[in-house]
């Protein structure tokens, strides 16, 4: 187990290093000059050169990258070109909100997705099963922006049950989390359905039924723990998908997370902020996958980590 953990951690570090280099390279070749954006339209050529020099952008790619990396390992993510603030403090101010939304979203998608998946598996082949699977397909393909605005209009504006956007209380969290949940639930319900259908065909389920256990007990005690295994790995992958969805959901609901920060930074070529957000997201994905792998053996003792 410790050997496995060390190997995985080294692997994770290498992945992050790769992500940082590729992102840095892409931003380097991007046909847009951050210095021009900072210097403004009335700047003299001298001013532009001064700024370029101060930011070290007149150095070769590898020198710049090396400087960035050495800062990063010391916990220095640089300063935003446009806000002149530490990237780490910008991210720190926004990360808790994103994590909260992400947790809320994952809970919602698990509750919705698993419930639909189990129901569909139990009623497999019947009209309810078909209806649920079509619904999940629609949920996965609908644009998040539209779903978000629709929920907002219905539950906040028309019914007045929730505040119209914003952040702070539990009531603020419900609609954005449900939006994220609806979007992600489709994958889970399909996955859960097929996994459940598989398990329900197993011999031990037949045995359990033959023993005279209630239908409910068979489902929840015997089928569910076995069917849920592939779902755990999926949550790890899902964190990555969430990072994309969160940008849209955060802006519809005015949620002060890092998705918004990333979007604004991209529009303004604020490279240190783009790098910072990318690294944090990559770290979240790597960590999510690692946790999923570590949790699996606790649920299914047959799996051994090596």
């Amino acid at each position: 187990m410790p050997g496995y953990l060390i190997r995985r951690l080294v692997q994770s570090a290498l992945i992050l290093l790769g992500v940082s280099f590729i992102t840095f390279l892409l931003l380097y070749v991007l046909p847009a000059d951050p210095v021009r954006q900072i210097a403004g339209r009335s700047a003299t050529a001298q001013t532009v050169e001064n700024i370029r020099h101060q930011l070290g952008l007149d150095q070769p790619l590898l020198v710049q990258y090396w400087r960035y990396l050495s800062g990063l390992v010391q916990g220095d993510m640089g300063r935003s070109y446009l806000q002149k603030t530490e990237v780490s403090s910008l991210i720190a101010a926004r990360l808790p909100a994103s994590l909260l939304l992400m947790a809320g979203g994952i809970v919602c998608e698990l509750v919705i997705g698993l419930a639909l998946g189990i129901i569909a598996a139990v009623f497999r082949g019947r009209p309810l099963d078909h209806a649920l699977m079509v619904t999940s397909f629609v949920a996965v393909s609908a644009p998040q922006f539209v779903v978000g605005l629709l929920l907002l209009y219905l539950f906040a504006v028309q019914l007045g049950w929730f505040p119209i956007g914003g952040y702070g209380t539990f009531a603020h969290l419900v609609l954005p989390a449900v939006t994220l949940g609806i979007m992600g639930s489709g994958w889970y319900s399909r996955m859960m359905r097929s996994s459940m259908v598989d398990v329900l065909r197993q011999d031990y389920i037949r045995t359990a039924r033959a023993k005279g256990l209630t239908r409910r007990r068979v489902l929840l005690r015997h089928a569910l723990p076995n069917a849920i295994l592939p779902i755990i790995a999926m949550i790890g992958i899902d964190i990555g998908i969430f990072m994309g969805g969160i940008v849209v959901v955060e802006s519809v609901f005015g949620w002060p997370g890092i998705g918004q920060l990333a979007w604004q930074a991209i529009q303004r070529v604020d490279i240190p902020v783009i790098m910072g957000v990318t690294m944090v997201s990559a770290a979240a994905i790597v960590l999510g996958n690692l946790l999923a792998d570590l949790i699996t053996p606790f649920i299914d003792p047959r799996i051994k980590l090596r």
Binding site: Q54, F253, G254, Q260
Partner: protein, 539 residues
């Protein structure tokens, strides 16, 4: 004016036309109350030396003051922190007399040393101010810019309440420059305390001070009870909520939760709002110093031929493009917007005429048409406008490929001279200050035509440049001969057609029912969306 000049070597600028002494306060104004303003994007910085987008521009105006200011709701200069000023006859020495007893938000009294410190700071390359170039006419600027001098030799503290600024050349726009946010007076000790984070901890002399800033969520401005102007601000404070989609902000306004949506009415909702008399009554319309244009790169074939550029000018149906943005603009004929001094009245521009355009193309030897590219920023409504331009040009046989890109990429392509045509929307020119010179230098003059410059048509005519310089050497910014000269400059530019001026955008500010104050305050040309110092609430 001439007689005044003759009678004394020193001209009191307060007597200049267009220089209003002050503003009559609104008799109905009642003090008290908070308002809520929303924005989609975070506020970048409140450092007056660095902030340069329309969102933080008006916020900075409420937190800081410069030596000069504008009469609320207008483009007329009025005294700011300087009670009065004198200009030498040759227009190169400005002596400002400061108000006594003005204090910063930290309680310290403001002095001439602070003015010098602030000007030295904004021009120091270390500060990386996008506004440094505005101060280029102050003596010693070049040395500071090159890193050879510590401070501006042209700025001199005469006594604690007098500051003398010497220019290296006459600059008619200098008083406007002193009213720019970049010229705001800041206290050295606060800048030194917070270093590069000064923009998050602003300390000025303005009508409001920063109470709270929760990154990504909200900023709260509180009334500065010790503000040096009597009676203002009326509001107890302003809450700026950031991260709000314009469409959600409008919903909240309709529910009475928001007072002013800072990003305006979303285009998709504009007709719905204007179609409802109750909501339309709360929308204020006003002009702004804005021109949207298409640049025609004079260095790329066949746009290097005058006839081709003229033909493109004639082919564009400006009325129809104006319709695309719900009529929120007036068609333009020339680079300057109509409310700008120096605008040429009665100039018709290039009329929409397909046949004449085709004839011009034939004259240029490209009667069979050609293929070219139009760069455009990829946010609505710009791609739709680009499509209208594409259709218009198709009618004269010109095939246009649309390159719809992020703003930064369009700016880069324009600066590098790769883009044959660029639709300026989203990046269009909005004047920094209400003077005709502001529409020339960086975007039409030779200085901006170099690699990386903002003159995307790469148009450079030395004789027009010389004329522009001459016009700016006339001391009185409002002198008729100066404005006439500027009018000539833009007419000569239009003769060579490096631009297709398309429209001048109108501003529409929506407000809640409880907002009070003159309509002009809601379309203030220098404080967008509203002049926070002078608006009030009625309940």
């Amino acid at each position: 004016m001439k007689s005044l000049l003759a009678s004394t070597a020193i001209l009191f600028a307060a007597a200049l036309p267009g220089m209003a002494q002050d503003y009559t306060p609104d008799p109905d104004a009642t003090p008290g109350g908070m308002i809520t303003v929303t924005y989609k994007d975070d506020v970048a910085t409140l450092d007056p030396a660095i902030g340069y987008d329309w969102q933080n521009w008006s916020m900075i105006k409420s937190l800081f003051d410069g030596l000069m200011d504008y009469v609320p709701g207008t483009t007329e200069l009025r005294p700011g922190l300087a009670e009065s000023h004198e200009v030498s006859e040759d227009g190169t020495v400005f002596t400002f007399k400061l108000r006594e007893g003005v204090t910063f938000h930290n309680g310290r009294e403001m002095t001439a040393e602070d003015v010098k410190y602030s000007l030295d700071r904004v021009t120091d390359p270390e500060t990386q101010s996008p506004g440094a170039g505005f101060f280029a006419s102050i003596a010693g600027f070049d040395a500071v810019s090159a890193g050879e001098a510590e401070g501006l030799s042209g700025v001199e503290v005469v006594d604690p309440l007098t500051v003398k600024i010497t220019l290296s050349r006459p600059d008619a726009t200098f008083l406007h420059v002193m009213a720019l946010n970049f010229a705001s007076v800041v206290p050295a000790e606060a800048v030194e305390e917070h270093g590069t984070d000064f923009g998050k901890h602003p300390v000025g002399t303005g009508a409001f001070k920063l109470g709270e800033w929760t990154i990504g969520q909200r900023l709260v401005f509180e009334k500065n009870a010790d503000y040096w102007r009597d009676g203002v601000p009326y509001l107890d404070g302003v809450t700026f909520e950031v991260g709000q989609e314009p469409i959600v902000a409008l919903l909240r306004l309709q529910q009475g939760e928001v007072d002013v949506p800072g990003d305006g009415i979303p285009p998709a909702k504009f007709q719905e709002v204007m179609g409802d008399p109750d909501q339309a009554a709360r929308v204020v319309e006003g002009g702004q110093l804005h021109t949207g244009y298409i640049t025609l790169n004079v260095g790329i074939e066949p746009l290097d031929k005058l006839e081709v550029r003229e033909a493109i000018n004639m082919a564009i149906n400006k009325e129809r493009i104006t319709q695309i943005i719900n009529g929120r603009a007036v068609p333009a004929t020339q680079p300057l917007p109509p409310s700008m001094p120096g605008y040429t009245d009665g100039y018709e521009g290039y009329a929409h005429d397909i046949e004449a355009a085709k004839a011009k193309l034939a004259e240029a030897g490209v009667g069979d048409g050609f293929t070219t590219q139009l760069y455009v920023m990829n946010t609505d409504p710009n791609p739709r406008i680009a499509q209208a331009i594409q259709q218009d040009l198709k009618a004269i046989g010109v095939d246009v490929e649309i390159r719809s890109l992020a703003q930064a990429n369009v700016i880069e392509a324009g600066g590098a001279g790769q883009a044959p045509m660029i639709w300026s929307g989203g990046m269009a020119w909005i004047a920094d200050f209400p003077d005709p010179s502001n529409f020339y230098g960086p975007i039409l003059g030779c200085a901006g035509a170099g690699e990386g410059g903002w003159n995307w048509s790469k148009f450079c005519d030395e004789s027009i440049d010389a004329m522009a310089t001459e016009a700016d050497s006339i001391t009185d910014p409002a002198a008729p001969e100066r404005l006439e000269m500027w009018s000539d400059v833009y007419m000569k530019v239009m003769e060579q057609a490096p631009w297709v001026p398309v429209f001048n955008e109108q501003r529409y500010t929506m407000k809640s029912a409880r907002m009070g104050g003159d309509d002009a305050l809601y379309v203030d040309p220098v404080s967008i969306p509203v002049n926070y110092d002078y608006v009030y609430v009625t309940e």
